[in-house]
Chain length 246, copies 2
Amino acid sequence: MNNKVRACEEVGIKSKRIELPIDIDEATVLAEIDRLNADPAVHGVLVQLPLPPQISISRVLERISVDKDVDGFHLYNVGGLLNGTTVFPPCTPYGVQKLLEHEQVQIAGRNVVVVGASNIVGKPVAMMLMQQDATVCICHKLTRDLAMFTLMADILVVAAGVPNLIVPQMVRTGAVVIDVGINRLPDGRVVGDVDFEGVSKKASLISPVPGGVGPMTVTMLLYNTLRSAERTVGIVDNDESRLSGV
Amino acid sequence: MNNKVRACEEVGIKSKRIELPIDIDEATVLAEIDRLNADPAVHGVLVQLPLPPQISISRVLERISVDKDVDGFHLYNVGGLLNGTTVFPPCTPYGVQKLLEHEQVQIAGRNVVVVGASNIVGKPVAMMLMQQDATVCICHKLTRDLAMFTLMADILVVAAGVPNLIVPQMVRTGAVVIDVGINRLPDGRVVGDVDFEGVSKKASLISPVPGGVGPMTVTMLLYNTLRSAERTVGIVDNDESRLSGV
């Protein structure tokens, strides 16, 4: 949470860390969330996971007001990913989308291959890029012949958590490669899921690790919080009108 | 709605059709839904679409209690499709899953190609089969070289609404083909999206139109309603425990 607190301070968003005892009961946690939901000065509520075993993660996450769910974890916001009505996309997939947008990568009609089918990255990023009319394939550890899929990708998004999973012969020349993996090697180095040195010779664009998607996650959290505040005074930004089809 | 009413009667589920005037205001519709939500004798609430323009479809659908949303259209249930916690899967995709289950088609690790990315069929069926560890590609009208994708499919689910879109040379020998399309031709015949006569010579299994998936939609609506009633007395069936990871 510390880097989130620091980032908030840097951009002038006030943040408050509420620490609760580890043996707290669920009702007290839910009451605390209700209090934050009701406070008009609060525009975003995050629950730092994991939670102690006596507390249901889903009950806690679903208690956060949909209008303050800047992490985008509430099932209601997740559901909106399927039909393009989400208000707060989850931060890492949203960061991937913003990187592609910033580099003016065309999405519609292109082949997107997502490696890794997690609830936090793989599935939502697949839904978001499908919403922008990409043809999307989602691969994972049970995929037969991963290279057959990755070689079809105009845009390859890798979020598998496996160092050096993607080597140059699995990438089409000119592909755009987004590496969401963050793996710490035994020697202390932090690497992504892509062999950066090799693949960067074939890709037209490639995101590095560290850097790349990593810093985008906190950035999009700040952005969702700003948008939440703006919504309370009736400002609907371009992203929201696009995302929600307003 | 009539075939739904008839099906309910056949299996002994009581149904009540509530017809409201076309110029009704939204508040009255929402109040009616609140009344059904509060009635313990009601286990499923359906809103027949389309709605007149003065009434918001999303506000009406989101007003239905998640516990009585047997159509599976509430965003909360849609969100559960992404992380496998949905209680009421939408009926047509659920019917596709049941057909595959009935024929004991292996899903995990197989290549599934879904043609058609609608919110009602394509996207949810893709999510449900991904939840069962298939590798899933979702194609649509902007897909370049559709045949390249369909030829990779061990299981091909077609829900595009285009008669004869899928011809034999687009299907791998031995594939399982599920045709969700229902198209009425100018001569009155009803056909699916697949050239049944040609493709049935290559497929190991193929669902016909009419028949096949069509009758499954109403069946799964009845099944969701039964499960809703069972839930009120604490019965959790196998599907639910699998779907919700209980």
